[in-house]
Amino acid sequence: MPRWGMVIDLDKCFACQSCTAACRMENNTPIAGPDQAILGRAILWNEVLPFLEGEYPLVHATMIPRPCMHCDNPPCTAVCPVRATYKNEEGIVVVDYQRCIGCRMCTVACPYAIRYFNWFPPEWPQALKQHLNPDPEVAPRPKGVVEKCTFCIQRLHRAREKAAAEGRTFQATDYMPACVQTCTGHARYFGDLDDPNSLVSKLSHSPRAFRLLEELGTEPKVYYLKQG
């Protein structure tokens, strides 16, 4: 089974947030609305985090697009009391929305704060409901459950079914999440970290490669390449 991973080249990422919008459109994450967004409840699985340092005029800003790290040693699946969130055999950390009891210990345990909670049932104005992605894996989540980036697992299933339908073996390059496909700076690479010939595994060993909060030992599978 492939071990899916991603590499984001911060030199080519221009913080255009197209990944954020693509992720929302692909995975039906709900609109928070003005009053909820101010409270900090906007659900953006693939948020771009602005880190500002320095005094004027020597100011430096790092813009880090942050999908789920899909750690190999995830602190979130460890604390889940009912195995509602677990790492599947392909290394993707998924949430089972029918089993989650909403205790939110995983949201607190994740050092990257990538898990979001449905405070209210998902709301769209009636007209907007027509653009929802019909894939069953991304049916809008009910209130009271945690949801997170799943590396667009519905695309993986669709790619596998397509490969099977065409009668050829599924290859790692047939599948990429929505954020990788729409990255305007072509900054995101995606593939199987275990395959030594894949670009992601080569890039993950590049001298510019680093991972967020590497020292915590969660073994994140999203590598960043240093800017500049």
């Binding site: 089974m1 492939p2 290859q171 390059t173 690479y189 395959d195 894949s198 670009l199």
Partner: protein, 125 residues
């Protein structure tokens, strides 16, 4: 004292009852054989250098022409895609004799409206 012995018995029973989950080994997928066949990196045909997903014009043309051993270069790919480019390159080479002398400033005065009309119908969006 009696209660402790009972606890020990219960915990041993529990441990023995759990099954062992066998973990099967993982297999690595091979690189697609196309790039081995043509000797070209993924980025030649695919738009994303990591290969897979969308293909560029050269990729499109290569697939269109039944995946031959060599990937057509851009111009040939374009013609395969039905895009004719009748451009004679010589127009773009400069002759080596010196450029014409600058004409002294001798311009007839222009009517404002005439400039406006002229500027208005530019090509493009």
């Amino acid at each position: 004292m009696r209660r402790h012995r009972m606890f020990i018995i219960v915990s041993v029973l529990l441990l023995a009852a759990t099954l062992a989950l066998a973990f099967h080994p993982q297999t690595a997928e091979a690189l697609p054989e196309y790039s081995a066949q043509t000797g070209e990196p993924c980025a030649t045909c695919h738009l994303s250098p990591s290969g897979g997903g969308p293909r560029g014009p050269r990729g499109q043309a290569w697939v269109g022409s039944g995946k031959p051993g060599v990937v057509p270069d851009l111009v040939e790919a374009l013609s395969l895609l039905g895009i004719q480019l009748d451009v004679d390159e010589s127009q773009y080479q400069a002759p080596d004799q010196p450029a014409p002398e600058a004409q002294p400033l001798a311009v007839e005065p222009a009517q404002a409206g005439q400039i406006h009309q002229w500027l208005r119908n530019y090509d493009g969006n």
